[in-house]
Symmetry: C2
Subunit: 246 residues, 2 copies
DNA sequence: CGCGCAGTACTTGTATACAAGCATCCGTCG
DNA sequence: CGACGGATGCTTGTATACAAGTACTGCGCG
């Protein structure tokens, strides 16, 4: 239990040097989630590296992370592809999200953090501003739900939800290409009011209704655009020269 | 909407060539979770590569995945370290797990899958066998909880729970070095009986009691072995030549 | 004896080279 | 005309080389 050498002093002031992998990962993830890289698209590590001005290494490491999130599929010696929206994973994400967000409502403290509440109120005002773009709406929606979790002291659980709900988000975007849905803002208001009133049961009911509405949207989209979803029996990638949707 | 070239046929019969990265990742993850690589240990990519008989590439890619799970910390140009058990992440995992497992109990179908039920029964018999090792107990415990999720049709959500609860598992192992805890098997029995009786409320109560017992164990361990947990203010890695626990 | 500073050995991040394997293309043969 | 089969170009997986930066060591000096 004796140290081998002297302990000279504290190590490692936090090194926050920005690595290029982080930038590459965030870029690719954004492009996948915004459908700029659509489901089924072929991803060549070489091409991505060239277009991003880096080598294969950071690209490859980013793809590995995206595989972990289920957003990309890699077939050794064959190719890498943006994964089709998997209805199974969408359902998984829906279940996970519902479980977490409903459970957090039961952990709300008696005295809510005033700063957080003010933030949520400002968020809702923004949501009802006319002329909101789809991008803005999604960002506000994310912040609102994240804020509710933080209110209950479970803010970090949001990261897990985020990484699991990639498929869910893509499906939602498929259906919300043009205008933000007006009804969702009202549902958000209802949830927050119930929370502020300390009515857990009502908040849970409102939240469940809200999340289920999102899920139903996805089901409708699936009927409209089945080609963007994974087939039931295994996922078959699309070769580059077989353009399915152009 | 016309293909550029003919569609020749089906692509990619599932290539299941075993990559060395997968083996390296599983090895490292196991060593971290079983505390063979204890919290705070320094990990040199070069040393790991040499000892595993591969190059830095698969080692490095595995470490990236472990970072994503929070089991490893990498400081650029400084070093890589097995992360200390972070009480915050333990609490997060506890919350996530409780939310998911309790929610799944509400989704149990009226007719339970007979094969799964039989499997759970066999599992419980095994748990009560005398002379059970700690390793066996953990494996059975995992299977039992996973099986309950599958019973509700949410088996895939287990993967998310697993990747989030690495810190929780390490803390539990710290406390269960010698003998499997006898009480847990009884709690499992109670849960399954309530499920089979179709009594959701009782099943939820039993599950909550069970999971909270696990969590309380962790708290006790923290008081006993604080040096294995992360300090409150930022995580300070341990240099190789400063042996903390040997 | 204590302090400061430069050298050195180590770290991870990135780029590149090579290996193994699959899909396609195209000529050949029946 | 159709089918088979090898050459070819692509893919990802792995190994290695180099770059940038940190921490430790040990000497010199006060």
């Amino acid at each position: 239990m004796t140290p081998h050498t002297r302990y000279r002093g504290l190590v490692t002031r936090t090194n926050s040097r920005r690595t290029s992998r982080r930038a590459v990962y965030e870029t690719l993830r954004r492009k996948v989630l915004t459908l700029e890289l659509p489901p089924g698209a072929a991803l060549s590590e070489n091409e991505l590296a060239a277009s991003l001005g880096v080598s294969r290494t950071p690209v490859r490491e980013s793809l590995i992370l995206l595989v972990e999130e289920g957003l990309v599929q890699v077939f050794p010696q064959v190719g890498s592809f943006v994964s089709r929206v998997d209805p199974g994973r969408v359902a998984d994400a829906q279940f996970l999200r519902e479980a977490v967000e409903l459970a957090s409502l039961e952990d709300l403290p008696a005295e809510l953090d005033a700063e957080l509440v003010a933030e949520l109120r400002r968020n809702l005002d923004e949501q009802r501003r006319p002329g909101l773009t789809v991008e803005d709406f999604f960002a506000l929606d994310e912040d609102f739900h994240h804020g509710l979790l933080r209110l209950a002291g479970h803010g970090r659980a949001w990261a897990t939800v985020v990484s699991a709900k990639g498929h869910l988000d893509r499906a939602r975007r498929l259906g919300l290409q043009e205008t933000p849905p007006a009804g969702f803002a009202d549902q958000h208001v209802e949830i927050l009011e119930a929370v502020l009133a300390g009515d857990v049961a009502r908040a849970r009911a409102a939240m469940r209704t809200h999340l289920r509405a999102v899920f139903d949207d996805v089901e409708a989209i699936r009927e409209r655009s089945p080609e963007l979803f994974a087939s039931a029996s295994g996922t078959v990638p699309v070769r580059r020269n077989v353009v399915v949707w152009e």
